[in-house]
């Protein structure tokens, strides 16, 4: 068969979204697909659903904290002239809410609160943010940006998806049985002794264990894909920076996740069979659990943030129509962050180790700031003299620079031993963490979804609507979490359901902020639904991007490309290249575009 015949055969292929007639046939086609785009889209909806679940739990946590829990004692004199004291509890908002719904049982207000924040943490970490960008946008765009027809192991990719569903089912089962109170970190001995006669902790830990395999297999698949499936002409330094970021992420996933696997397995054995490894009563060491846990869970925060940084590199360059500044510096800083990430786990447990170890971990932690700052400075330099278009993806990119920088810089006092003594386990940590994870990852994820939405679904979204949502998210996010820096420095400890009266004003502001934030995401949801139902048809290249996904149709065909693409220009050569599918009415291009660079 000649190659020409093969190509001719590809021309009448439909979009990957077109399927057989009949709803059952369609469901079956999606459930058994090995197409990375369909799997990516399924992941996208799944992680967004989990974001909704975890977000609802967060709103519940904030709702409880709107006022402190108090026992109000009223004294009165009854008809016989005796002094009568009546005690009323106020401020147990969640218990009142759940009692009203008839599901509170005999749980106390603090127990319900503990379950709500554990639910928030476990769902957001294990089911939303770890798989979020790599498994959804990564799955969809990594092969396309490399010019490949699929990931290296398509069936393994489908297996990761089902493992993700299977693991999530365990987590949801645990939640439906009443949830757990351990916090998402499952610290021993608390996780081995609470609710001794219940299986909920075991189910939740098993869920995290199973989800780890999904993460490992996705990472493994991506590493091999990047090594083996780049289009002809694409060297390592011709890859878009999103690919570099996902590649660095995948390496962490492959190397760190097995350690949490064995840790959680030991925890399950501890819980079921009392093996004693983490039980001080039998000579076991609960701090060993913390070391094991953070050996995974610190690198994994870079699994959460690195792909977001990759998205930002794409967004800022394309929507400023400017060659990325410091390509290699950004690429290598991704690998640098991945490398350093394995050496800093000790900063979560400064107080549980010797002074020398603490000093070493503190010093190593500062190293993370270097590659991170290199990225931020390069992004800002990219914007300089660019033709910035203030659409939703770009606004999210700018918001990332603002909020992520706050998140990154507030991490330094936590890495400093002296200041950490005051700040650790306080709301300052909560605020820092959310500025990095939400102000970093979620914000970049939102930007990325808007950026690639036209490519994924072939529909444009409503720009003014999305900008309103973006504005609400920006205001809501900062109101919610900036106040928590003040709460933390003033001494409000994290994870407490109750607090002294002095903190009430700040807590109230934070809770009002969470409502604005929730409203912002609802606006986004409405914009997405509107786009899917009544969105304008998207052109193949609405933003003038030069990476390979913009050479595909919107949405791409089943095998992504009609012909195997040959890479002839860099991913950010806006000054010298006419973008594929360029339509002058979509956007202007650089006056020099089309003139060869050399």
């Amino acid at each position: 068969m000649s190659t020409l015949d093969t190509h001719a055969g590809h021309h009448d292929e439909g979009s990957y979204l077109s399927g057989p007639p009949g709803i059952m046939a369609k469901i079956w086609q999606w459930a058994t697909t090995v197409d990375h785009k369909k799997i990516g889209v399924m992941y996208l909806f799944a992680v967004l659903f989990m974001f909704f679940v975890g977000g609802t739990a967060a709103l519940l946590v904030r709702y409880e904290l709107i006022d402190p829990m108090r026992d109000v004692i009223t004294q009165s004199v009854n008809a016989d002239g005796d002094l009568v004291e009546t005690t009323t509890s106020t401020g147990e908002n969640l218990r009142d809410l759940f009692s009203g719904l008839g599901v509170a049982g005999d749980l106390t207000g603090t127990q319900i609160y503990n379950r709500a924040f554990t639910l928030h943490g476990a769902v957001m970490v294990f089911m939303f943010i770890v798989p979020s960008i790599p498994a959804s946008l990564g799955n969809f765009f990594l092969p396309v940006m490399l010019g490949a027809k699929d990931v290296a192991f398509p069936r393994l990719n489908l297996l990761s998806w089902y493992i993700y569903l299977f693991g999530s089912a365990f987590g949801i089962l645990s939640i439906l049985m009443g949830g757990v109170e351990t916090g998402w970190t499952f610290y021993t001995p608390y996780s081995t002794t609470t609710d001794a006669d219940h299986w909920r902790v075991v189910l939740m830990v098993t869920a995290a264990f199973i989800l780890g395999f999904s993460s490992i297999l996705t990472g493994l698949n991506f590493v091999v894909t990047v090594h083996k499936l780049r289009a002809p002409g694409m060297g390592w330094f011709d890859m878009p920076l999103f690919i570099w970021a996902v590649y660095a992420t995948s390496i962490i996933q492959v190397l760190a996740t097995p350690v949490i696997g064995i840790t959680l397995l030991l925890l399950i054995f501890e819980r079921i069979m009392n093996i004693g490894i983490f039980d001080p009563a039998m000579g076991g060491d609960p701090v060993l659990y913390q070391h094991f846990f953070w050996f995974y869970s610190h690198p994994v925060v870079y699994v959460m943030i690195l792909p977001a940084m990759g998205i930002i590199s794409e967004l800022l360059a394309i929507h400023a129509r400017k060659h990325i500044f410091g390509y290699r510096a950004i690429a290598f800083s991704s690998l640098g962050i991945a490398g350093v990430s394995f050496l800093v786990w000790g900063h979560h447990i400064f107080t549980a180790m010797g002074e020398l170890a603490a000093i070493l971990f503190s010093g190593l932690t500062f190293l993370v700031a270097i590659p991170t700052a290199i990225k931020v400075f390069n992004w800002i330099a990219t914007l300089y003299k660019g033709s910035i278009v203030l659409n939703t993806p770009m606004c999210y990119g700018l918001m990332f620079l603002f909020t992520f920088s706050i998140g990154g810089l507030t991490g330094l006092p936590l890495a400093t031993l002296a200041t950490d003594l005051h700040l650790h386990d306080s709301y300052y940590v909560v605020a820092h963490f959310h500025y990095v994870m939400m102000g970093g990852t979620v914000i970049a994820f939102m930007g990325g979804i808007h950026h690639w939405w036209p490519k994924m679904f072939g529909k444009m979204y409503n720009e003014p609507g999305a900008l309103i949502g973006m504005g609400l998210v920006f205001i809501g996010f900062n109101v919610t979490f900036f106040t928590q820096f003040f709460l933390g420095t003033q001494g409000m400890p994290r994870r407490y359901a109750n607090y002294v009266d002095e903190f009430q004003t700040l807590h109230q502001i934070s809770t009002y902020g969470s409502w604005i934030l929730g409203l912002g995401f609802l606006v986004h949801l409405a914009v997405f639904v509107h786009s899917l139902i009544a969105g304008e048809k998207a052109p193949a290249n609405p933003w003038g991007g030069l990476t390979l996904e913009w050479e595909c149709e919107s949405p791409p065909i089943e095998h992504n490309f009609h012909h195997e693409p040959i890479v002839k220009h860099g991913p950010y050569d806006f000054e010298t290249t006419v973008p594929p599918h360029w339509d002058p009415k979509d956007y202007p291009i650089h006056p020099d575009a089309g003139k060869a660079a050399h």
Partner: protein, 234 residues
């Protein structure tokens, strides 16, 4: 994948000559430019997976090291309870099986279908023998004496209060390893089925044999570390 000079090809029965699963008829996945690239990718993927396995066991080795440092007495006693002869016997069994696993790959490369099957069968038999020795002469005997993990520990003549921890790590380490032995044997079972039914592996297509053998060598390697740590060091 380098194609071996094939001087002595196995006869192919007519019934499977045209089967798409026969090694001569296998084609690369639609997203690969050639079968060679697909093979290289599968092998790279397997090596990455083995890395994750090493890190999984690293947790157990790390736990071993920490508790050995904390309770040297219990650890010294623990290794005295184990009979190095059974450990050595099982080491021999695994080494032989690793040799036959490597042979299986070579036989696939040379299209020696009969010897391919023989080597796989010996490998699986060794796996079964390993598990048998482990269960019959070690686990059953030890558990019968009350040398059980954690709170199930009831051995009356323990010298050190922390011996239950030793047994916890012993059972978890060797247990997870034994699970890997079973998984590896099952993987070779799949290879054997396709080799017998379709002659699915030959000079140009032996990815699964290669990867099963790689996995098996890892199982062997982990035991090579477990054996001296648990049985030999006092």
């Amino acid at each position: 994948m380098s194609t071996m000079t094939d001087t002595n090809p196995t006869d192919v029965p007519q019934s499977i000559l045209k089967s798409p699963k026969h090694w001569r008829n296998r084609i690369a996945g639609h997203h690969w430019r050639s079968g060679d690239e697909e093979f290289d990718a599968a092998k790279l993927g397997m090596w990455l997976f083995l890395t994750t396995e090493v890190l999984l066991f690293a947790g157990i080795f790390c736990g071993y090291a920490v508790f050995r440092m904390m309770y040297p007495e219990a650890w010294a006693n623990g290794s005295h309870y184990l009979d190095w002869k059974f450990g050595a016997l099982n080491t021999g069994v695994l080494l032989i099986s690793s040799w036959t696993a490597a042979n299986a790959v070579r036989c696939a490369q040379l299209d020696k279908q009969f010897w391919l099957r023989v080597n796989i069968i010996v490998t699986i038999a060794c796996a079964a023998l390993f598990i048998f020795i482990k269960l019959k002469f070690e686990y059953m005997v030890k558990l019968g004496q009350g040398k059980a993990p954690g709170t199930f520990f009831s051995y009356p003549h323990a010298h050190d209060a922390h011996e239950p921890l030793w047994w916890s790590l012993y059972y978890i380490g060797t247990g997870i390893h034994a699970l890997h032995v079973v998984i590896g044997a099952a993987l070779f079972g799949v290879v054997l089925y396709y080799a017998k039914r379709y002659q699915a592996y030959g000079p140009t297509q032996y990815t699964l044999v290669e990867n099963a053998a790689l996995y098996w060598h890892l199982v062997d390697l982990v035991w090579i570390f477990l054996f001296p740590l648990l049985y030999l060091i006092h």
